[in-house]
């Protein structure tokens, strides 16, 4: 151990302080969800669970939740198909411009969200609208699928590289056709990676707001409902409850995904896996 005892104690304190800083606001919102008072001052005087019921009965919140779930399911489905296809191509073949594919896939989340959003809005208004596709759940899905592809792609490429291609070749040698090989050999090998990726893509889509504001027109997903109600003091108690719900709705799929992937997302390859997951999480 190169570090002195004092250094280690100081590091431990520093690490503890930073972690406290990271978690403090999350605890604050959890407490606020139980605030009885409509004004959001601190300290909280009375606690109640009544806002949970109010939020559950709120028509707008329900509609927004339904739209968010539908859009996330649609985006996840498209991202699964496109991400898997791209991953199989990149991990099994050598071809000109292979590096470009990885770059292209990551670009929608590497560029600031406002750029992606504004570009998609320009396309919807100038290209899609004239051919009859105006703002609808489909424009939301198109936007979300575009930046969800990378999550599926990353997971599928990693798995596909690890298992190699020899089993596929063996399957073909034994007389299976392309479909049978995919159905009985390739897919079972990728299944858990794809399931984990689907959960991550769902979580990413479910709480996305930066791009969605540009692609949704007048519709409200749950995050957009939160955003529009920030300015309405009377709605803030419901916003608190919905905010707490959204935190759980986006963290729980990620936890399950980490378990399914055998911790491979964060712990198996600490460096690269963690950074890749961090890249995936970019809002």
């Amino acid at each position: 151990m190169v570090e002195s005892r004092l250094t280690r104690v100081l590091l431990r304190l520093g690490a503890g302080a930073t972690l406290a800083f990271i978690y403090f606001p999350l605890f604050v919102i959890a407490i606020y969800a139980f605030n009885e008072n409509i004004s959001q001052t601190w300290p909280i005087e009375h606690y109640t669970t009544k806002w949970f019921g109010v939020a559950w009965r709120d028509e707008n919140v329900r509609d927004a939740l339904l739209l968010s779930v539908k859009a996330a399911l649609g985006a996840t489905a498209i991202a699964l198909v496109l991400g898997t296809l791209a991953a199989l191509a990149v991990s099994r073949y050598r071809f000109f411009g292979k590096e470009t594919i990885s770059f292209l896939v990551i670009l929608p989340i590497a560029l600031p969200g406002i750029i992606t959003g504004l570009a998609l809005q320009a396309t919807i208004l100038n290209v899609l609208d004239p051919i009859g596709i105006s703002f609808s759940i489909w424009t939301i899905i198109i936007g979300h699928a575009t930046f969800c592809i990378v999550v599926v792609y990353n997971n599928a490429v990693a798995r596909s590289r690890r298992i190699g291609g020899s089993l596929q070749e063996a399957s073909m040698d034994l007389g299976a056709d392309a479909w049978q090989t995919f159905r009985f050999v390739t897919f079972p090998q990728l299944r858990t990676a794809l399931l984990a990726a689907a959960l991550l893509a769902f979580a990413l889509s479910f709480d996305e707001v930066v791009v969605t504001i540009f692609t949704s027109g007048a519709q409200q997903t749950l995050p957009i409902w939160i955003f529009t109600n920030f300015g309405r003091p009377r709605e803030l108690p419901i916003v608190n409850v919905v905010a707490l719900f959204v935190i759980f709705a986006s963290i729980i799929p990620v936890w399950i995904a980490q378990r399914i992937a055998g911790g491979g997302l964060a712990t198996e390859r600490p460096g690269k896996g963690a950074v890749a997951a961090a890249i995936d999480a970019e809002p």
Binding site: V2, E3, S4, L11, R12, A15, T18, F21, Y23, P25, L26, I29, T41, L82, L85, A89, L104, V105, L111, P112, G113, I114, I115, T116, L118, L120, A122, T123, L125, I142, T146, M172, G175, A176, D177, W179, Q180, A203, V209, F214, I226, F227, F230, V239, A243, I247, S250, I251, A266, T267, P270, G271, K272, A274, V275, A278, I279, A281, E282, P283
Partner: protein, 298 residues
């Protein structure tokens, strides 16, 4: 290995079988089939949209109706360079990005160092998950919590009150604090990965040669981990440049994101032209980062 179900192979002459054989023999066509969907989607929808954004920045608007007119002009860019408002906003945003990046690097270092060098493997794994999890907790919700906490009678002022301090409801300081909070995990993870890659033998060699802890840290560890810090700064920088939600909630000044956001309905061409500023800054930043070796740390 599970046993593969004994599916009866289709008869040799069936169309499906013939297609399969054809694909097997022509692997370029197979590759094309795999790539057509994803490439088509990303090139047509995404790159197409970005190209359209570039075109839109060269369009004109009707001064009275603010209707977009498809005349080619460089006036939007001229306006952005000449009107001091736009220059001030761009400068303010870039400065904010710099301050946020510095604060994140300073805060991230102790945690990353503790995770990589001091913690036991078990604690390390727990810490990685502990740092990673809040990343996934909705960005919007975290932005909202900061607004609540920074309110006039929020928890921050309640904590500051005993020291006789007070933070204005909307302030650059509050915005800086919130940005620093939001992007912190993006800085911790690359630095952690960078520190973990440094061979322990190098540090021992430095100690053997008489380097004290501080000297070893400054002369060995820091230069080796610097590319990782730059890698993390790509995220903190880019995310700050493009954000419009946090400034709307927490600051009363304009930033690049908020200007684009408000202009997008009234004057799309100017918004599109202004959107080229973060793209240009990030391109330059990525170029410098590549020279500093940051890409190997991603």
């Amino acid at each position: 290995m599970t046993s593969v179900p004994q599916a009866e192979p289709p008869p040799r002459g069936s169309p499906g079988r013939r297609l399969s054989t054809f694909l097997f023999r022509h692997d370029r066509i197979r590759l094309g089939g795999l790539l057509a969907g994803p490439l088509g989607w990303l090139v047509v929808i995404y790159l197409g949209s970005l190209f359209l954004l570039l075109l839109a920045s060269l369009w004109d608007t009707e001064p009275f109706t603010s209707e977009v007119v498809h005349n080619w002009t460089l006036d939007n860019f001229k306006r952005i360079f000449e009107e001091p408002v736009y220059r001030d906003v761009a400068w303010r945003t870039v400065s904010m990005a710099v301050y946020v990046t510095i604060a994140d690097a300073v805060l991230a270092f102790p945690v990353a160092y503790y995770m990589a060098r001091v913690a036991s493997p078990r604690t390390r794994n727990i810490l990685v998950v502990a740092v990673l999890t809040p990343l996934w907790a909705s960005y919007l919700v975290k932005a909202y919590v900061w607004r609540t906490m920074l309110g006039e009678e929020g928890i921050i002022n309640w904590l500051l009150a005993p020291f006789g301090l007070e933070l204005q409801g909307k302030s650059s300081l509050g915005l800086w604090l919130s940005f620093t909070y939001l992007w912190l995990p993006f800085m911790i993870l690359p630095i952690y990965a960078g520190l973990e890659r440094i061979p322990h033998s190098l540090l021992e060699a430095s100690a053997d040669l008489g380097g004290r802890s501080l000297r070893t840290f400054l002369r060995v560890t820091l230069p080796l981990v610097f590319p990782a810090v730059v890698a993390g700064s790509i995220f903190t920088f880019s995310l700050t440049l493009g954000d419009y939600i946090l400034p709307t909630l927490i600051a009363d000044e304009q930033f690049i994101g908020t200007v684009i956001y408000t202009d997008r309905g009234s004057n799309l061409p100017v918004a599109a032209a202004f959107a080229m500023v973060p793209i240009a800054v990030m391109t330059l930043y990525l170029f410098v980062a590549k020279r500093l070796g940051a890409f190997e740390s991603l």
